[in-house]
């Protein structure tokens, strides 16, 4: 009897440890995707500005509340705009940003192939 209580206790503590670890990893991954709005070039993970610390606390709380990464990011975007995310979302306004490099590379490749053909 005693043994089973101890084993249950040990098992739950291990599980709790793992879930806390998983939550913290999730939090840190989110911190790395969120821009510090007063330092701009930095993520809130790298920044210890006051607003960055506040946003970290908020993200941790939302994780504990059971919010998904998408919901948390959605909340931040709703309040601060797309700029708060380090990776700009793919949408009409950012098509040029996302696809221009690929288009330019394609054009370059076409030019190179044509020249090679001409030489041959």
């Amino acid at each position: 009897m005693k043994f089973s209580f101890v084993s249950i206790f040990v098992c739950t503590s291990i599980l709790l440890c793992f879930s806390a670890f998983a939550e913290e990893t999730r939090a840190i991954n989110l911190f790395k995707e969120v821009r510090c709005l007063v330092c701009q070039g930095q993520t809130i993970h790298e920044s210890n500005a006051e607003i960055a610390e506040d946003l970290k606390t908020l993200i941790r709380e939302k994780i504990v509340e059971g919010k998904t990464d998408k919901e948390i990011k959605g909340f931040l975007v709703e309040k601060y705009g797309d700029w708060i995310l380090m990776t700009p979302p793919v949408k009409e306004l950012t098509y040029v940003l996302w696809f221009a490099p690929i288009i330019f590379m394609a054009i370059g490749l076409i030019v190179i192939f044509r020249r090679k053909k001409e030489k041959a």
């Binding site: 709005l37 007063v38 701009q40 006051e50 506040d54 908020l58 309040k79």
Partner: protein, 172 residues
């Protein structure tokens, strides 16, 4: 075919023009996605009185100004004179949200410099400010019928009051 030879040069020149104009873009002043939307819900304690200040206080058919300030914020001191002028000379209700401040210092600030506010709410944790999309003090919202019309980041200077804020309020 000749044009193609110059294409890289043309692209570079266009990019230079684009980057040159981007340089002058002040990225420290971000437009808020909340403009055009309802004021987010909040409810905070008041600085001088008991009771709460909520988003419902800001709903009026007259223009309402919500100013986020703090006693430790130096630009807020400069801005305070402008708010005093605004509250004394113009028919507009100004509400204050005291951001991450010390109660005594906040009270001293208002007692020393005057009180342009109808109500002052206290946001010690900064959570209501995050809800409003605030990332620094001072920030100012112009609200009508509970909808955010305009957001000003940084202190309002006298010339900005004349050129931006007053025309906006008069139009409402």
């Amino acid at each position: 075919m000749r044009l193609i030879k110059f294409l890289p040069l043309i692209i570079i020149v266009l990019l230079c023009i684009f980057f040159f104009f981007s340089l002058n873009n002040d990225t420290t002043k971000l437009s808020s996605p909340l403009v055009g939307k309802d004021v987010p819900k909040f409810s905070v304690d008041r600085l001088f009185n008991s009771g709460k200040m909520t988003n419902e206080d800001l709903i009026s058919d007259r223009p309402v100004i919500l100013n986020i300030w703090s006693s430790w914020c130096i630009p807020c001191r400069a801005e305070h004179d402008v708010l005093m002028v605004l509250s004394e000379l113009y028919d507009v209700d100004i509400y204050g949200l005291n951001y991450k401040d010390n109660e005594t210092e906040a009270k001293n600030f208002i007692e020393g410099l005057g009180n342009p506010f109808e109500k002052i709410g206290v946001d010690t944790s900064g959570r209501s400010a995050i809800n409003l999309g605030v990332y620094g003090v001072p920030e100012t919202f112009i609200i009508q019928n509970g909808i955010i019309i305009y957001k000003h980041i940084g202190p309002i200077h006298m010339n900005e009051l004349d050129e931006k804020i007053l025309p906006l309020i008069k139009d409402l």
